[in-house]
């Protein structure tokens, strides 16, 4: 496997590299199932979780992954820190560098912030993109792929496998979704076929560079594609105020996952959501709590996958 220094985009991962991380994640899942859930791998290494946006879920997932690998963990939240007093990304990065951070997990509201950090020369450590604006969220895509692979092939027999021939439908606000962008890239890399279902207002004006087939009719898409997994994206209510769609009721009726659409899925199809869910908006409670739902698996798989990413970027640099 070629040496990966940062994880900024799902496009950084070749098929081989992606499967390598998923395989390591399987081993990490084994660790996470033990009574003592800890490895000494990153002892003496410092990882900073640099969060310019609120995201408790992603932050604690990374934090748990870092701690289970025995890293020293610093949480640097923008709110209440010098960042909210106008300190720039550059100053923050240089400060962390001066303190000797070996890796920085960054969540930022600006697209490209992680790449800027990695290419700027401000900081030397590994940069992991934990979500940059409306651009990408590669560890989410990895945990989604991991979840699909595990459910499809079984935990014990997933190793070395991709997602070849599987069909995944991603539904909702594709335009503003870093989850959709990273998933479209990684799922294709792993051999799956990607479909988007969205109101036309929430699809990029020119999606030519995104490898996915676009549908406007959810029911027709489910009937035509017969997906192995359906991923519902979180819809932000402020989109409604910007006229992307007329009302929450209309959105949930036309683009939401309900019992009827759930019943139309083939048996065993995965129903995924990156969380946090708006129950009653993009997904009904019945659907969210159904056996098809992988929401909680995604959360626990997230820890294993993030351990695998940290391991891959940081443990190998010793050699």
């Amino acid at each position: 496997m070629s040496q990966l220094k940062h994880l900024l985009s799902a496009a950084d991962l070749s098929r081989e590299a992606a499967i390598g991380i998923l395989d390591v994640a399987e081993e990490m899942a084994g660790v996470n199932a033990r009574a003592i859930k800890k490895l000494p791998t990153l002892q003496g290494k410092t990882v900073v979780n640099l969060f310019f946006e609120d995201s408790t879920r992603t932050r604690i997932s990374f934090e748990l992954a870092e701690k289970r690998l025995s890293a020293d963990v610093i949480n640097f939240a923008a709110k209440g820190s010098s960042v909210s007093k106008g300190e720039s990304l550059k100053d923050t990065a240089q400060t962390l560098e001066a303190m000797g951070a070996d890796a920085v997990v960054i969540r930022h509201g600006a697209s490209g912030a992680a790449q800027k950090l990695a290419q700027s020369g401000w900081i030397d450590g590994a940069i992991i993109n934990a979500g940059d604006g409306t651009h990408e969220h590669p560890t989410q895509a990895l945990l989604d792929a991991f979840t699909i692979r595990r459910r499809t092939h079984g935990a014990g027999s997933s190793a070395g496998k991709g997602l070849d021939g599987l069909r995944v439908v991603i539904v909702g606000d594709v335009l503003h979704s870093r989850v959709a962008r990273s998933n479209a890239i990684l799922l294709n890399t792993l051999g799956a076929q990607v479909h988007f279902v969205a109101p036309p207002t929430l699809v990029p004006a020119n999606p030519a560079g995104i490898q996915a087939k676009i549908h406007y009719d959810f029911d027709a898409a489910l009937a035509e594609v017969k997906p192995d997994a359906v991923m519902m994206l979180r819809i932000q209510s402020e989109r409604m105020n910007a006229s992307y769609f007329p009302s929450e009721r209309e959105y949930s009726r036309v683009w939401g996952m309900d019992s009827q659409r759930l019943a139309a899925l083939k048996p065993g199809a995965l129903l995924m959501h990156p969380g946090p869910m708006n129950r009653g908006l993009e997904i009904t409670a019945e659907a969210a709590d159904s056996p098809n739902s992988t929401v909680l698996e995604q959360v626990s798989n997230g820890v294993s996958v993030r351990m695998a990413v940290l391991y891959t970027l940081m443990a190998t640099e010793r050699n």
Partner: protein, 431 residues
């Protein structure tokens, strides 16, 4: 009495001649002119062009002297072969009164490297609400003829109509920054394939084109002339072409960066490529080049927009819009018009000197090189290949750094005074 003589220069029409200069004026153009003890510039192999005129420069003074001053911007202009620049109005205070435009003109005279021609704001404080005192600026010592809220669009159609009508009184022109504000809220880069992949908010071509379409129709309706700043899309070219065919008095400019660079560069998330209007696609670049060659686009204007390092060395979304341009404009023009084999030096002289001077109603700039003309001359080495490095500007937001471009300005003569000699900018201006 000849003070300066340029020997063996190639004129835009291809003929080789000597140019004798007496004080501020070209005394004679001909072969084997006597040197008479005058200073001699050997221009063998160099192309002599009328000094360039920029219709769109941000000199940042007063108010943003950390980015540029009238002096540093003037030196950068001279290094680029310019002998006149139009200083855009978005200073602080805004150039919306006779007092401020006169101050900027005075700063230009004190610097002495180019004619600094202030542009007046169309509306008070560039706020798009109330007309600035256009007449007072026109009648001031600064003799303002070009009015623009550049950086912001005069988007209120009634206000735009009134401005177009009002400036007829003194043969002025409104230079529109065509950007429909609602369609570009939060916009970061060209809306297209690349913005979709990068997750940066798109800036649709229609936001520019809809305003241009409206304004050419308004100009036709009220019988005024209108100038379109930094036209950047293939669709805008089509609208201007249509308007010109219809006889509407519209002129249009294109920047060097829109002739050379595309939105693919945004993939680096390096904010040096962040500009308003945004870099567009290769198709747009080709349409703009074609339009410059066929005359649909009248001029190249730099939109030279210096910014301090901290405004660019940050995440894309937080960065300022704008890039430098004065010192590469001639090279880009040479690339597009001459090296391409599609046009010639005469056209280059038109788009960088003659036409912008006409639009700005400058009588002492943009003159053909001939006896009696003011001695504003740029001497270019067309064979030079140069890798773009640092510039005379106070700022470093130079997207051309590291690119190889043809041609180099070797000498610039401003009103008979060499502001650039053998590639080196003079220590002092002509005063």
């Amino acid at each position: 009495m000849t003070s300066l003589i340029i020997k063996n220069a190639t004129l835009p029409n291809g003929s080789v001649a000597d140019i004798a200069i007496d004080g501020e004026t070209i005394a004679a153009v001909g072969t084997n002119l006597a040197t008479d003890g005058a200073t001699v510039i050997d221009a063998t192999g160099l192309v002599a062009l009328p000094g360039f005129v920029d219709l769109h420069t941000h000199l940042r003074e007063p108010g943003f002297e950390g980015s540029e001053t009238v002096l540093t911007g003037s030196r950068s202009a001279a290094a680029g072969g310019f002998t006149a620049v139009h200083a855009m109005a978005n200073t602080s205070p805004v150039q919306d009164t006779a007092g401020v435009v006169e101050q900027v003109k005075a700063l230009g005279e004190a610097a002495g490297f180019v004619d600094v021609v202030p542009v007046g704001a169309v509306t008070v404080g560039l706020e798009g609400k109330q007309l600035a005192e256009l007449g007072a600026m026109a009648n001031s010592r600064a003799q303002v003829r070009v009015f623009s809220d550049d950086g912001k669009c005069v988007h209120d159609p009634v206000l735009m109509r009134r401005a177009l009508e009002y400036v007829k009184a003194f043969d002025g022109v409104v230079a529109q920054h065509a950007q429909e504000p609602r369609l570009t809220e939060g916009a970061q880069m060209n809306e297209g394939r690349v913005s979709a992949e990068l997750g940066l908010t798109g800036w649709p071509a229609v936001a520019e084109e809809s305003i241009i379409a409206r304004d050419v129709l308004l100009a036709e309706h009220v019988g005024s002339r209108v100038h379109i700043c930094h036209l950047s899309t293939a669709g805008s070219v089509e609208i201007v072409r249509w308007a010109k065919a219809k006889g509407i008095a519209v002129t249009a400019e294109v920047t060097p960066h829109h002739l050379l660079l595309t939105d693919e560069l945004a993939r680096s998330y390096d904010a040096v490529y962040k500009v308003n209007p945004p870099l567009r696609t290769q198709e747009d670049v080709l349409a703009l080049r074609e339009a410059l060659i066929d005359g649909t686009i009248d001029i190249i204007a730099t939109d030279h927009a210096p910014h301090p390092t901290e405004s660019k060395d940050c995440e894309w979304q937080a960065a300022a819009f704008g890039m430098l341009g004065l010192e590469i404009a001639a090279s880009v023009a040479q690339e597009v018009l001459v090296e391409s084999g599609r046009s010639n030096w005469q056209r280059l002289a038109e788009v960088l000197s003659l036409n912008p001077a006409k639009i700005g109603r400058l009588s002492e700039q943009g003159q053909e090189i001939a006896a009696g003309a003011v001695a504003n001359i740029a001497l270019i080495d067309p064979a030079a290949k140069r890798e773009i490095a640092d510039t005379q500007s106070k700022s470093k937001n130079n997207p051309y750094r590291g690119l190889n471009l043809p041609g180099a300005v070797v000498h610039t003569i401003y009103r008979g005074y060499p502001t650039v000699a053998s590639g080196t900018v003079a220590e002092k201006g002509r005063n």
